[in-house]
Amino acid sequence: MEDITRHRYEEGKPRLRRFHQARWDEPIIFELSRQGQRGILVPEVEDEIRDQVGDAMASLPDYMCRKQPPGLPELSQPQVLRHYVRLSQENLGTDVNIDVGQGTCTMKYSPKINDALARAPKVADLHPLQDEDTVQGVLEIMYRFEQILKEISGLDRFSLQPGAGSAAIYTNVSVIRAYHAKRGEGERRDEIITTIFSHPSNAACAKTAGYKVITLYPDEDGYPDLEALKVAVSERTAGLLITNPEDTGIFNPRIEEFVNVVHEAGGLCSYDQANANGVLGITRAGEAGFDMCHFNLHKTFSSPHGCGGPAVGATGVAQELAGFLPVPVVDFDGQRYHLNYELPDSVGKIGPFYGVVPVVVKAYAWAMSMGAEGLREVAEIAVLNNNYLLQKMLEIPGVCAPYARGKRRIEQVRYSWEELGRETGVHSEEIGLRAADFGVHYWTSHHPFVVPEPCTLEPTESYSRDELDEYAAILAHVAREARSDPELVKTAPHNSTVHTIDPTPLDDPDQWATTWRAYKRKVQQHEE
């Protein structure tokens, strides 16, 4: 009898997977449409209502009655289901792959029990304007979760409303703007400082809110440049928006000095903790003197990323800024939870209702399943995993971890394939697409590529040592291929859902099409 497993290992180590992603070659949904098919029926209106009311549209001016029915596809229910299940199979989510390749995004495990709790009718079927007496449970979860975030951050008050990290950054900028306006310095303080290794939304939100943006670059060791900050601050400084550790995974040891320099100039300091995974229970925004921070509940706090939301960017502030937060916040008088709209200096409403509450339920459940020791274990293992992967990566010829050489990193590392690229002509993006042939996702990095040929890996706490070994082995294999058969890498992916895409139409107004109708029209125009 043959031992099948014998072929799965080489020198005691597992061979790379012979992976092939689902490839359904699925039509666009409009191509599946056949006239008259129905996917679901809607409740009938009782005859008594029809008899009494008559023509529902009679009160409308003629032009307000839709003449042409919308050109939606007509499908039966099982066709709709199969179509979307097939499309779902053509994704590499965290439930499927070793998702360490999307650094800065903390692709950790999202516990299934938390999803189940949040989609129960006791959350799903609540209207946000119900009488507060009927929603005490959900308000209690929001209140309790705020207390947890206060302790984790060392800050004093949170809003759970912003719809993700960028919305939280914008909210913080809005608070900064309102704070200076109240002090009569709103017009004078028209500059916001950030760093190039902070998320692009820090710069972009500040600009959107009307600020001039000053971006600091790292010093030679990769740390944010304190001397550059001292030059940048002035009586025009409204605030500092900064990540720590930055996207390089390097913790800024002079962060207190950064905060002090900005405070002395009269500015406020906002800590972008979208990804706080490596510092939970280790260090806090409060001790470093920050005035505000935000946490992405879909990152550090495990709620699933949902293809890009729904999400929450929980925004925390020190006591003196509590009155500026968006309304409402949840208060508790010892007996009853209630929504408090009476914040004296509030920036107002930033969205309808109270934010993405089911995500808060998931994050609360996650935090409660971990506790203080567990959160610290999350941070320590995330950091251990990262440094373990760092060591594995540095064994691959052609890759390096720029800056702070020889030092440890916190939760992620921004690597550079510059050397490999120089030797082989293979770019980081191509390495990632070849890695997809082995069933893993890989991302380059945020633009601009200050680190040449970058990739950012963040293992989080959710992957085993064997899985980290597998990820590193895949990249090592691809790097070898880049030398032995660069064309193979440059024409990847080969085992993915689709093959190399021709991006030309995407930047050409005559060809681009974000909808099927636009595509059909342009194809027809082209043919004529």
């Binding site: 549209m57 950790k108 960028s166 920036v347 974000t514």
Partner: protein, 465 residues
């Protein structure tokens, strides 16, 4: 809690003490403290976080969270007539089936290769919304309808190079607050009066306020206060004559029966997707859409991602990618248009599933059914003494303002009376719109049967008498 041995956390594979030790040895570290050498001692938290004791077993956690949530009473347990931006519609089981699939639920920012399905699903979402809205460009969803409206106005400001927007004074005050916060300092928001009888925008006031400074004239259809704005065509003409963009916010659920704003001249259309397959979730099911014609001057002003279709090197294979990516803050930071990030993509996919299930006939039937039911509710409520239904004389979609001045009771008292009868009455408007007096915004959808409406009317009759 007493514990004598280290916890192995089910969510943390390497929390097994021996594994942890082996990995530390592999990287030459004595303890995990070594990794934090850059964190100054003064910033180190040298005590455990003061948090409630953990609920380590899944069962204990479930029991705890369900225990708290059990204090809620849902719109399944009560009979609800609340709307005001979040709507109780039936959510088809297939919508939940798809958005609960881990492959969608836990995907994020994959490439158009390994996440081809996400790109196709969102392209199809945009395509179906395009049909509904009669527009050629639709974005990957933003957070909610508030954000969609705010960004639409800022897009209009960039397109026109102007700095004022005119919005109806019947707008939800919360949304107005958002617009003012988000549009400053680029755009000043000014209010336009409404006709007292119909609620429609006051065209004379609009004409008086529109000028060469006007970037956008914004209307909502149906309006926040439920009536259908029937001056869309005139508003469009007035806006365009002054060189302004006409921005229309719309409830997509109404578009099986109502004319889409693009057909009466809207240049930018926006709104909230929540009605299309999202549970209410205490307001957590919102998602915003923005749509325009396919003209470069519009496309280049979107902050959002736009997914486009493209060929691959295999004949007949559909590929996808980002359209005009260089306009986004992902590409060029503060030089991009506003900013983009994680928002509400899964709700976009879900809305696509909803539209595919409903098809043109489903949307026409549900729209007509809603209008019949809400009209019936208005007729029955208006029979009650002292009750004015509707306050605005004109066509409505699913919501309508009910006046209770004649009952001598406040809305708060009335809603309390309904609550003890297991009914959630309409949203109290008496603080938001004091000039309307003692009134509430009621919502009737396809989930309400004749018996439900009759039960409301009977209960109201008891409460106001």
């Amino acid at each position: 809690m007493s514990r004598s041995r280290a916890v192995v956390y089910p969510y943390i594979p390497n929390s097994v003490p021996q594994v942890k030790q082996q990995m530390l040895e592999a990287v030459g570290a004595e303890s995990t403290d070594d990794f934090y050498e850059d964190v100054p001692e003064s910033l180190r938290l040298r005590k455990p976080l003061d948090l409630p004791p953990p609920l380590l077993s899944e069962y204990a956690l479930k029991r705890h969270v369900e225990g708290i949530l059990s204090k809620n009473k849902t719109c399944g347990e009560y009979l609800s007539f609340l709307g005001a931006g979040c709507y109780q519609h039936h959510v088809p089981a297939v919508c939940d089936e798809i958005n609960q699939r881990g492959e969608f639920l836990t995907a994020y920012a994959g490439e158009p290769y390994d996440d081809h399905g996400r790109f196709q699903a969102l392209f199809e979402y945009a395509s179906m919304m395009g049909e509904l809205l009669n527009m050629d460009v639709v974005n990957v969803p933003t957070y909610d309808g508030y954000q969609a409206a705010a960004t639409s106005i800022r897009m209009a400001a960039r397109i026109t190079g102007r700095g004022e927007a005119l919005v109806p004074d019947t707008i939800c005050p919360g949304k107005l607050s958002k617009l003012r916060d988000y549009c400053q300092p680029a755009v000043e928001i000014k209010l336009v009066d409404h006709e007292r009888q119909t609620g429609n925008l006051d065209l004379e006031d609009l004409k008086a306020k529109v000028s060469g400074r006007t970037a956008a004239v914004y209307i909502e259809n149906p309006a926040y206060l439920g009536f259908i704005e029937t001056h869309g065509g005139e508003v469009s003409s007035i806006a365009h004559e002054s060189g302004a963009q006409f921005v229309g916010s719309v409830d997509p659920m109404s578009l099986g029966v109502l004319t889409p704003p693009a057909d009466y001249g809207a240049d930018i259309v926006c709104g909230d997707l929540q009605p299309l397959g999202m549970h209410m979730q205490f307001g957590g099911g919102q998602a915003g859409f923005i749509a325009t014609r396919d003209e470069e001057r519009y496309v280049m002003e979107y902050p959002s991602r736009l997914f486009g279709i493209a060929p691959t090197r295999v004949d007949g294979e559909y590929g996808f990618g980002d359209v005009a990516y260089e306009r986004t803050s992902f590409a060029v930071r503060e030089e991009g248009k506003e900013w983009v990030g994680t928002a509400a993509a899964l709700w976009g996919i879900t809305a696509g599933v909803y539209l595919a299930l409903m098809g043109p006939q489903g949307l026409a039937e549900i729209g007509e059914g809603i209008m019949l039911r809400s009209r019936y509710a208005v007729q029955q409520m208006s029979k009650l003494e002292g009750v004015q239904a509707p306050v605005f004389q004109g066509p409505h979609f699913q919501e309508f303002v009910v006046g209770f001045e004649g009952t001598g009771k406040t809305v708060e008292e009335i809603n309390h009376g309904l609550l003890v009868r297991g009914i959630l009455g309409g949203k109290d408007l008496s603080k938001e719109f004091p000039e309307l007096g003692n009134c509430a915004l009621y919502c009737v959808t396809e989930v309400h049967t004749k018996a439900d409406i009759d039960r409301l009317v009977e209960a109201l009759g008891e409460v106001v008498s």
